[in-house]
Amino acid sequence: MSIFLAKVRRSSDSPDLLSQAATMIHFVLLFSRQGKVRLTKWYSPYSQKERTKVIRELSGLILPRGPKLCHFVEWRGFKVVYRRYASLYFCMCINQDDNELEILEIIHLFVEVLDRYFGSVCELDLIFNFHKAYYILDELLIAGELQESSKKTVARLIAAQDSLVEAAKEQESSISNIIVQATK
């Protein structure tokens, strides 16, 4: 009766796309109520094709949820924690046994830092300055782990970078002006 025993079946929809291992946050997603992507950051490897699929699946899963329901959804053996700010959804994907409430607060921490940086942040700020949002996120999370929980420290670092960049820009433009002048 059992010679087929060894033929072990594998589920076609394998959840092991990425190692379950250590990474705390697998990705960060921001999308609007219309499902438009505003920011994506992938800490675990996903191919471009998978990314599109993930975004589609998750926006389909999260957008219809009512405001009173849990801010967590189970998805492919992971958990996705989301939080809505006005028309923008912030999502983070974590492992099954992580602390969802903590992730909710990490999202909020990110939003607070954004808020401080942009001065009462709105969706448009993120749309037009998504690269800035990336810089901020990079100071907050690194490789899927929370690296800094002090808003002040993050803000200070970003400000330092910005001022340096601005300084460099001025210098650059003045140099190029000189060159332009010289070559006239």
Binding site: G77, N99, E105
Partner: protein
């Protein structure tokens, strides 16, 4: 919005973003993006692009890629940009490459050099940018290239750099643990860093290291505890406060680490009790972050060695979570409960109603979490309810991932706790029917073995009963379309072995069915193989029994078709079948003995029965046999193979070379020259009874994962619910907790649950009344064990409210019932005094007499009226009365039921509560209420269970699975 202009993007880019923002469909968006890609491709290839322009292009590339399109044509430009001296450009370059490239991308090798250079930069911001890139891009191969520099940066003057260096090393550790294993001392040192940010970051790698091996970090317990204490005492800079909590994220990380270190370690656990207790006390349970810390405390408490005080605090916190209105907190409460019940199984009892609320919540996430909890608390007394619930849920979901999970959980629970084999088979049928393609094939094999081995003892009648019932249920199911392959295999096998065993079905009937299966699943070779093997068995049994065998025409054509099949396996089977039926009864009987699937096959490895033949041949001048390893000129491979005691002679074909795609049993059977036939025919199927039996003997259990078969002994005997009447203390607590639960549901509409302000409270009260009995019932079956209700005093509980946990709870419920019905009575038939209702239950002990299942009969009738009554009570009372009259007419069997005598005819609720009273009669019932239909269904089920001897022979079943 004001800031968007000032960052140097061109109008072009702003327009792009805008037009995408205004795109009305995904297709339109895609069109715009594709156009943008074309533009960028052209522009970026132009010579002499100003750097600032290039920077913008790169950002536009990032944007395109973020929207899900391929921007790989520009990756190289992003890489180039990292080489730039200007920080502004470098930062953009690094941002782009970290977003574009995965760690195994080919271009990374071009960046490593830049990173190395930048790590040495004087400007700490450049170093930070490089370290960010290191965390993302450096893979196992390139770690050595940057490792020394990163380690050096651990001592950098700027805390931001130290912090990132720690995170980078953490990343290296995740990529390749061995690369940084010698650096553990650095992590320990960084734990004492002056900067809390660096210290917090160091907790990440330490937590990973401790997860792997907690024993070598026990000395750090004291440090962690003291750090946690300082954090909790607000010794960290104010800037780490978050929503009035001192550095909560660091607290959470520390608690996670402590949980790991304290697990199973008495000394370590004792060191942390105080601080964990302090934190739990200090947690602000009104804020989300406070609850996050609180939850982490519960996790820690349930992981370290139990401490009664902490457990109590944890239980309190859990009940706060569960009673909260927030779904998030309920979810966390359910999760925490699942953790804590491992240690103190009793605590779930007081939350039973909350748990059931969550189970029935429309929120899928919460529901699934609750199923997880139920899975953890399953025991023999509640397995039926839980698994039934799970299957019901499973049937209705489309998410394959979760379906697989819940199906395997059903199987696992059924195997562990099944009260009877009958139930087990029925449950497995359901699982297979609805999720057959998702469950592991092993499950099918387990099921076959269960049916084959039966109870495993001498109880032959029970065995054959089991088999006949299996055969019967399969014959019923077999015609259904779209049965999963694994299930069909089981069906075919069982029909082949036992289809004709009890003589109920004729061979031609069974074979006809089997042919149908093979025909309708013509694309599935495995099923066909099983079907043919089953056919062969049926025919063989017929021949052995001396009956004449007539091949059905469809069978004949099937065999012909298979004889020409592309699958050699199927061909082989078809030919074997033909060969077997042409043999005489005696031969057939010895090849295919009846019901021999479990018997051992003795293998004569030395082939002693051939000795005389060998002797003869030798005498005739044949060459004597030389063992393979003594032969010269044999290939190395052959001698290697000889280690496997394969003694295939070199003169014959080497069958091993052609390993079958399916791992096949014969590798276990020593393939000796004579038994080549077995090898030749790697028929992976019972058509070869010898092989089959051999499998059984070689490894009766090897194929089943230990997790599936292992009896989980711990916790099995522990009852959640305390015996109802034993101690008054828990009863009061539980009833009071239930009261508060009910109170919560009430509080929405009315402050006072039993107030007589009927106009406003009427509806809400009734809806509650309609739900709660079912929940009570469920609670009792989930939490209470089945024996409880029997002890219930035979009165309508509310007169003696606190006799027991169960009746305490119930009395409250019934109070609700009564008050609700009271109201309705007053509304519809004001003359009827309520006390009559209460009397209903008491005299009905006499009712035990003939009982022909009136509930079942009533079910259909009740349905419509019940729905209607939920909508509006007053308006439809007339239609209801007619329904009730028909009920009334149908009632004679329970004629003595006092309802009949009660003239409350137009009131359905009163009818319900009358039943509530009278149910006391039936020992297995727990509670009844106005929700008649559900109650009746449950009731029918319960009584059915009562009839089916669920405790028939539990030991036997355990033997089987153990």
């Amino acid at each position: 919005m004001g800031s968007q202009g000032g960052f140097g993007q061109s109008k072009e880019f702003l327009d792009l973003v805008k037009s995408i923002g205004e795109a009305r469909s995904k297709a339109e968006e895609d069109r715009i993006v594709l156009h943008e890609i074309e533009t960028l491709k052209r522009r970026i290839a132009e010579p002499d692009i100003p750097k600032r322009k290039m920077k913008e292009y790169i950002i536009r590339l990032v944007y395109v890629e973020m929207l899900g399109h391929d921007a790989s044509f520009g990756y190289i430009h992003a890489v180039k940009m990292t080489h730039d001296d200007s920080l502004s450009l470098k930062r953009t370059g690094y941002l782009a490459v970290t977003l574009f490239l995965n760690e195994d991308h080919d271009l990374i090798i071009l960046i490593v050099n830049t990173i190395q250079k930048d790590l040495k930069s004087d400007n700490y911001l450049v170093v930070c940018a490089a370290l960010n890139a290191v965390c993302r891009l450096i893979n196992e191969e390139t770690i050595p290239a940057v490792l020394p520099q990163v380690v050096e940066l651990l001592g950098h003057a700027k805390e931001a750099v130290r912090k990132k260096a720690v995170m980078a090393l953490h990343r290296f550790y995740q990529r390749s643990p061995s690369s940084v294993s010698h650096l553990v001392s650095h992590f320990r040192k960084r734990l004492c860093d002056n900067d809390p940010g660096v210290m917090g970051a160091t907790l990440c790698p330490l937590s990973d290291l401790i997860t792997i091996d907690s024993s070598s970090y026990k000395d750090l317990v004291i440090s962690f505890v003291s750090i946690l204490k300082q954090v909790a005492e607000r010794r960290l800079p104010k800037s780490y406060d978050y929503h009035q909590m001192p550095a909560p994220f660091i607290q959470i990380k520390l608690l996670k680490i402590l949980a790991l270190l304290g697990s199973g370690d008495k000394q370590a656990s004792e060191q942390m009790y105080t601080v964990v207790g302090d934190i739990m006390r200090k947690c602000d349970s009104t804020s989300n972050i406070g609850n996050a810390v609180l939850y982490e405390c519960i996790c820690c408490v349930s992981s370290i060695l139990p401490n009664p005080k902490l457990l109590e605090a944890a239980a309190d916190a859990i009940s706060k979570f569960l009673k909260s209105d927030s779904h998030n907190l309920k979810y966390m409460g359910i999760d925490a409960l699942g953790r804590l019940i491992k240690i103190s199984p009793d605590i779930a009892e007081q939350h039973q109603l909350a748990v059931i609320d969550c189970l029935e919540d429309p929120d899928d996430t919460l529901k699934r979490k609750t199923f997880e909890l139920l899975y953890k608390m399953t025991k023999p007394s509640n397995v039926e309810v839980i698994v039934d619930r799970m299957i019901d849920y499973m049937v209705n979901i489309n998410d394959n991932h979760y379906k697989t999970e819940i199906a395997s959980r059903c199987v696992e629970l059924a195997e562990q706790f099944a009260p009877s084999n009958q139930w087990f088979i029925q449950t497995m049928n359901k699982v297979f029917e609805h999720a057959g393609d998702l469950v592991n094939i092993k499950v099918a094999h387990n099921l076959m073995r269960l049916i084959a081995e039966g109870f495993g003892e001498d109880d032959d009648t029970a065995d054959s009963q089991l088999r006949s019932s299996a055969v019967e249920s399969y014959l019923r199911i077999i015609g259904e379309p779209k049965l999963p392959s694994a299930f069909l295999q089981v069906i075919c096998w069982v029909l082949g072995e036992y289809g004709t065993a009890d003589g109920k079905y004729s061979a031609s009937y069974i074979t006809g069915k089997l042919c149908d299966v093979a025909e309708s699943h013509s694309s599935d070779d495995t099923v066909k193989a099983y079907a043919v093997a089953a056919l062969m068995k049926i025919y063989a049994f017929e021949i052995a029994a001396g009956r004449k065998v007539d091949l059905l025409p469809e069978c004949q054509s099937l065999i012909e078709e298979l004889s020409a099949s592309h699958s050699t396996d199927l061909q082989q089977r078809a030919y074997e079948l033909q060969a077997v039926i042409s043999l005489d009864a005696r031969a057939v009987e010895s090849i295919m003995p009846l019901d021999a699937s479990c018997e051992d096959i003795e293998i004569d490895k030395s082939l002693s029965f051939l000795n005389s033949f060998v002797q003869q041949s030798l005498e005739k001048g044949a060459q004597p046999y030389i063992p393979e390893n003594e032969r010269s000129g044999v290939l190395d491979v052959a001698s290697l193979r000889s280690q496997d005691h394969h003694e295939a002679s070199t003169h014959s074909l080497r069958f091993e070379a052609y390993e079958l795609p399916k791992p096949v049993i014969p590798s276990r059977a020593p393939p000796v020259s004579v038994s080549h036939s077995t090898e030749l025919v790697p028929v992976p199927e019972p058509s070869y009874p010898r092989e089959v039996r051999q499998t059984a003997s070689v490894s009766p259990f090897s194929e089943t994962g230990p997790s599936e078969l292992k009896l989980r002994l711990d916790g099995v005997q522990k009852k959640w619910g305390k015996p109802t009447y034993s101690s008054p203390a828990p009863s009061t607590s539980s009833s009071s907790s239930q009261r508060t639960v009910n109170g919560v549901t009430h509080s929405d509409s009315t402050g006072n649950p039993n107030s007589k302000t009927r106009n406003t409270s009427h509806d809400s009260k009734r809806s509650q009344v309609e739900i709660s009995p079912e929940k009570q019932k469920l609670a009792a079956s989930l939490f209470g064990g089945s024996s409880k209700p029997e002890k219930r005093p035979s009165s309508t509980g509310h007169k003696v409210p606190k006799t027991s946990t169960n009746s305490g709870a119930k009395s409250h419920m019934e109070k609700g019932v009564v008050s609700a019905s009271e109201i309705s009575i007053e509304k519809t038939t004001p003359l009827q005094p309520p006390p009559d209702l209460l009397d209903l239950g008491e005299p009905s002990i006499t009712n035990i007499a003939p009982f022909v299942d009136p509930f079942k009969q009533l079910e259909g009738l009740l349905d419509p009226s019940q729905d209607a009554s939920a909508v509006d009570h007053g308006a439809i009372s007339s239609s209801k009365s007619s329904d009730f009259m028909s009920l009334y007419a149908d009632m004679p069997t329970s004629g003595e039921n006092s309802t009949v005598a009660n003239p409350l005819s137009s009131n359905l609720e009163s009818f319900g509560s009358a039943h509530g009273g009278s149910t006391v009669v039936y020992p297995t019932q727990t509670s009844k209420g106005p929700n008649l239909r559900d109650a009746l269904e449950k009731d029918a089920l319960v009584r059915q269970m009562g009839v089916t001897p669920s405790t028939q022979n539990p030991n036997l079943f355990r033997d089987l699975l153990g």
